[in-house]
Symmetry: C2
Subunit: 159 residues, 2 copies
């Protein structure tokens, strides 16, 4: 079940996103980010935030926000994180599908991911299955903890 | 003369950037942005902000900031605005050159422009002369007041 996040979900969201930020292999976020900063980044800076529940637990979350202001405000941006325990069950794909539907309902005309780390091949494959195309590549834009400098992709689809 | 902006430059900076935001043809910024929001966007969100002076007046300004946090923090981003009266004299080019030097001094490894409106051909030509390459294109990403939906370019150069 995917539903809008409530204020009472903050602990659960932090549990899901904290390990991913600490690992530092997929998001361009300070690995030492505080809980408060992470909440600002994931929740307060977003137009909408959703959680995915399974068995009464929050096992995934995604945010949806306007990617650029003014003349760019018809394009949205999303970020998705699945808890380690819930991976490999298609949840990222379900959240992506959900977000595309929500974005259309909110009136956006396109969705763009600004910074997809090229080593995150599982995610890239999912976004491509959902109609996203690589429209740009920032060379050596991400300093991967294990791989060193790798590229970041810009991915996009119309809605 | 290009120098770091002081708090006392806020009025002068607003005078330079306000008409460009109100016109809405080059920056993905709300055309009705308030002075306070504009100062947050241009100054407070930036690592550094500079002004260009001529004859004792501020005739241009640019900001320099880290483009992405965490593993992306070795890449910076800049935005430049020249006052209407001072255009056509090479000031954007001078500010770009200055920013490349400052960015190197601050330890950045690359500079990226995330949203160059494709109709802003004068600016694109200047960035290309300064070694920037187009590394991505967001289709129909910008709703131009006169031209309708146009593309936005991602431009990049190593430092």
């Amino acid at each position: 079940m995917i539903r809008p996040a409530f204020a009472t979900d903050r602990d659960a969201i932090w549990k899901v996103i904290k390990p991913v930020f600490r690992e530092g292999t997929t998001y361009a976020v300070d690995r030492k980010i505080s809980r408060q900063q992470a909440m600002e980044y994931w929740l307060e800076s977003s137009r909408e935030c959703y959680v995915a529940e399974a068995g009464g637990n929050v096992v995934g979350t995604y945010y949806l926000r306007t990617n650029h202001a003014g003349g760019g405000s018809h394009v949205c941006n999303c970020g998705y994180i699945v808890s380690a325990a819930a991976r490999g069950k298609g949840l990222a794909s379900q959240m992506c599908k959900h977000s595309l539907s929500e974005a259309r309902a909110l009136g956006y005309r396109a969705m763009q991911f600004n910074f997809v780390v090229e080593t995150n091949t599982g995610a890239i494959a999912i976004w491509e299955r959902h109609g996203f195309e690589v429209i740009g590549r920032s060379p050596k834009a991400f300093d991967h903890p294990d791989r060193g400098l790798v590229d970041a992709l810009l991915m996009h689809r119309e809605l």
